[in-house]
């Protein structure tokens, strides 16, 4: 048996590649944030504030409804919860190939043919993407569509539905691996 430790074969075994596929499929981490609704206390900003920490664990809390709504189209691998630190948002992880994850070259969710994100925010590293507006395709179309149906009894092409929960709007961010943590990055909606 030849000695292979110091040749390229051996060297290749001592490399490490980042991966999310240990025991699971490839995962996407997403942060959802609501404007005007405190998920942690489960109360809309339009109502009198009710100090009831952890109310998101109650039956039929909006948090519970969001999870069930998203589960209609995405396969969850992690569900985070709102907290006193971040009462308006939480993170979740889904299998990357679920949720109708589409990279589009339309609208301002701007990937070119090489898959390079050309949004302003990706280019200068600062600022915020222009908001996605219905353009026929989004980053994670099914999730946005389901959330619209939940929040506004509408769909993403009808912005005039009733505001059921007193939510002004919502955000979806794909979490960016910063090395120090996974933080909201690419604006999906």
């Amino acid at each position: 048996m030849p000695q292979t430790y110091d040749d390229p074969t051996g060297n290749n075994t001592r490399k490490v590649q980042p991966s999310s596929k240990f025991g699971t499929r490839e995962l996407k981490f997403i942060s959802i944030g609501l404007y005007g609704y405190d998920l942690y206390n489960d109360v809309s900003n339009y109502d009198d504030f009710i100090d009831r920490p952890s109310a998101y664990k109650n039956p039929d809390s909006l948090y519970s409804k969001i999870i069930r709504t998203l589960a209609e189209t995405a396969e969850f691998y992690e569900i985070g919860g709102p907290s006193a630190m971040a009462p308006y948002s939480f993170v979740f992880a889904i299998a990357a190939e679920t949720g109708q994850w589409l990279y589009s070259d339309r609208g301002n969710f701007d990937y070119n043919e090489a898959g390079v994100d050309e949004t302003d925010a990706a280019q200068d590293g600062r600022g915020t993407n222009d908001r996605y507006f219905p353009s026929g395709a989004s980053g994670i179309n099914d999730l946005v569509d389901r959330l619209y149906n939940l929040f506004f009894l509408s769909d993403q092409y009808r912005l005039d539905g009733p505001d059921v929960f007193g939510i002004d709007d919502f955000n979806l961010y794909e979490l960016e691996d910063t090395g120090g943590g996974l933080l909201p990055g690419r604006h999906l909606y």
Binding site: V16, G23, K57, N58, G81, S83, M85, S89, L183, P184
Partner: protein, 292 residues
């Protein structure tokens, strides 16, 4: 088969209500996971990312040899890099900061067991202060004549009053810090009577507090009473050796160091500025003390 979703009067049954609850979890398709960030100052993690036996590769091996079953492995970054969004308002690092560490995120099955607690400073295991209430100006705040343990008071920490109490506070009962602020050198607190020990993962174990419940409303009253806070470390069994240290807890959320991993890195690399910190899920997954 009876209808389990409704009671006879048509109202929703408790059974149905229970199944419409949701709790945070990572046990979906995998084991319960805990995320950590490994911070290394003055290293070449980024430059050596693709190198055979590079520092990044050696660090990951070191963690695995310390018992870590890695379920998620992130890419190394220098924390002074330009990311999609600006995180300067966290205790992050500014762009181009030459003192910023290089770091990567990883996840392992979470086997942190019930912690044991011990005083951070055995010679000074607790501190007491005199407290007063000025309820008419800003309701439900208690003012103290100084600050406990410098600024090391965090949300959810237990506090017990003794002596002649007022404002509706019961002597000997444990309250939990809900909000805190400094008025010059003096600490001001709002309290809760309850705390949830499971909300922020292991960040707020019940042994040293928890996520505070609803605000405790003080009745009018004034005077002076004695308050005591125990300054405790919490040490977990488990692969990572999670360690909530009173020494580094700041005003809001305590840090959780992975002492087992830090020791393993010490054994491989010797003394050096590095750190492994447990992440807490919030609007992202990062060390909670960064939000202090």
């Amino acid at each position: 088969m009876p209808d389990l979703t409704k009671n006879q009067d048509g109202s929703t049954s408790d059974l149905a209500l229970n199944y419409r609850k949701t709790r945070e979890t990572t046990n979906l398709g995998t084991r319960k996971l805990a995320f950590y960030t490994c911070l290394f100052y003055g290293a070449d993690l980024v430059a050596s990312k693709d190198d055979s036996n590079g520092t990044y590769s050696q660090l990951v091996q070191t963690l695995q040899q310390a018992g870590a079953e890695i379920y998620w492995l992130g890419q190394p970054h220098n924390l002074n890099e330009t990311f999609i969004r600006n995180w300067d308002y966290l205790n992050f690092y500014e762009r181009g900061d030459t003192n910023a560490p290089e770091a990567f995120v990883f996840a392992i099955p979470d086997d942190a067991d019930s912690p044991i607690t011990r005083p951070y400073d055995s010679e000074n295991p607790y501190a007491t202060l005199e407290a007063t209430i000025t309820n008419d100006y800003d309701p439900n705040w208690i003012s103290f004549n100084g600050n406990f343990f410098s600024s090391h008071v965090y949300t959810g920490m237990p506090i017990v009053f003794s002596g002649t109490t007022f404002g509706g506070i019961v002597a000997g009962k444990t309250y939990y810090i809900k909000e805190h602020e400094l008025d010059g050198p003096n600490l001001q607190l709002r309290l809760s009577e309850t705390a949830d020990s499971e909300v922020l993962d292991i960040q707020n174990p019940k042994e040293i507090g928890g996520e505070p419940g609803p605000l405790f409303e003080l009745t009018n009253g004034s005077g002076s009473m004695t308050a005591r806070i125990d300054w405790l470390d919490a040490i977990y069994q488990g692969t990572a050796g999670d360690y909530i240290s009173g020494c580094c807890a700041d005003m809001t959320y305590p840090g959780v160091a992975a002492a087992g991993f830090i020791n393993a890195i010490y054994n491989r690399f010797g003394p050096g500025p590095y750190w492994v910190e447990r992440c807490a899920p919030s609007f992202g997954i990062f060390p909670a003390y960064w939000a202090n």
